[in-house]
């Protein structure tokens, strides 16, 4: 019996070692994925803050005649760029523009980017207070945890 044991590992021992290695590998891979996800979340958060800052400035300081001009288009594009939001208005855009990868797996040129992670920007009036709300979904989580809502409250000067 001892001679059999000294000949090599038993099936149980091999299975246990494989299981331990698998758990370690999964742990390393998921930590790596978590780091990527958190990095993307931080980048999106910084961009959302920038978008809200842009619109805070527009809502506060844009000339009065510009309000209500963009209601024909809900997309944030060249036409609506720089126009303040009207009460109840919603505009959409994209938070993330990853480099385009064609089906063969090669990356596109510097000018080729895709549109990903759409966001919605809405303005709600509450008396003299304007509430700008930006909503987007984190791609690696499922609802309701995936929904990110950022708001800025503006007290309009008289």
């Amino acid at each position: 019996m001892p001679s059999t044991n000294s000949g090599g590992f038993s099936l149980t021992e091999v299975m246990v070692s494989v299981a331990v290695l698998s758990v370690a590998t999964l742990g390393i891979t998921s930590a790596w994925k978590l780091a990527d996800d958190k990095s993307l979340a931080a980048r999106l958060d910084a961009r959302a803050t920038r978008i809200l800052a842009e619109y805070s400035e527009l809502q506060n300081f844009a000339p009065a005649y510009l309000f209500g001009q963009a209601s024909s288009s809900s997309r944030i594009d060249f036409e609506t760029q720089g126009l303040p939001l009207s009460p109840g208005e919603t505009r959409t855009g994209f938070m993330y523009h990853p480099r385009h990868v064609d089906p063969t797996g090669t990356k596109g040129g510097t000018a080729t980017f895709d549109d990903a992670i759409p966001y919605q920007l809405t303005l709600v009036m509450d008396g003299q207070v304007q509430l700008i709300t930006l909503t987007y979904q984190l791609p690696y989580l499922s609802d309701p945890k995936a929904t990110v809502v950022k708001q800025v409250r503006l007290n309009l000067w008289q």
């Binding site: 990527d36 980048r43 961009r47 300081f61 844009a62 993330y96």
Partner: protein, 192 residues
């Protein structure tokens, strides 16, 4: 037999030793490959984040420069801006690649200083790809100017404009991961 058993207890056979070396080499190779991939991925992430952070700071600098300026002007290029004098900017354009903002500082004793912050888009070899250059000039003293360069700029049109009567700047950057857009709107406090 007893002799052979005691020899086995003394160490590994050549075959066992080779098997161990091969196994350890494979494991170390796989671990090194994974580590290199992780480091390379982190470098790509770091470069993208660093470039975006730099340009976010630049956007903030442009915002503050316009917001706190006593006067500002947009020019086609640095050549057009050169004809402006200390007292007056001269004629500007509704949209262009050169923005100049002036700030009058008056110290407590009454002696003042004129500081100019300029932002210029300098195109590179490719069309509308280039560098944004920030220059701070101390016009009333001999203090040396401060110059900062921000590379990787994609400009789809003139960088600075007065569209809809609001001073603004628009550009994008191409990072190692994606494209990031920057839009600055700033109404000078003196224009409120």
């Amino acid at each position: 037999m007893k002799n052979s058993f005691s020899m086995r207890k003394a160490g590994l056979t050549l075959v066992e030793l080779l098997a161990v070396i091969v196994s350890v080499t494979l494991i170390l190779g796989a671990a090194t490959g994974l580590a290199i991939t992780v480091v390379a991925r982190q470098k790509v992430e770091f470069d993208a984040t660093q470039l975006e952070t730099q340009h976010a700071e630049l956007a903030n600098a442009i915002f503050n420069a316009i917001k706190t300026s006593d006067s500002f002007q947009i020019f086609d290029s640095s050549r057009s801006a050169e004809i402006s004098s200390l007292g007056s900017y001269g004629i500007g354009v509704p949209s262009g690649d050169y923005l100049s903002c002036r700030h009058n500082f008056t110290a407590g004793g009454g002696s003042g200083g004129l500081v100019e912050q300029d932002f210029e888009f300098v195109p590179g070899s490719a069309d509308r790809l280039g560098t944004l250059v920030q220059t701070i000039r101390f016009l009333s003293t001999d203090q040396q100017q401060i110059r900062k360069e921000f590379s990787g700029v994609i400009a789809r049109g003139p960088l600075f404009s007065m569209k809809n009567g609001i001073p603004q700047a628009h550009w994008s950057i191409s990072t190692t991961l994606d494209r990031a857009d920057f839009n600055v709107y700033a109404m000078p406090l003196s224009m409120r």
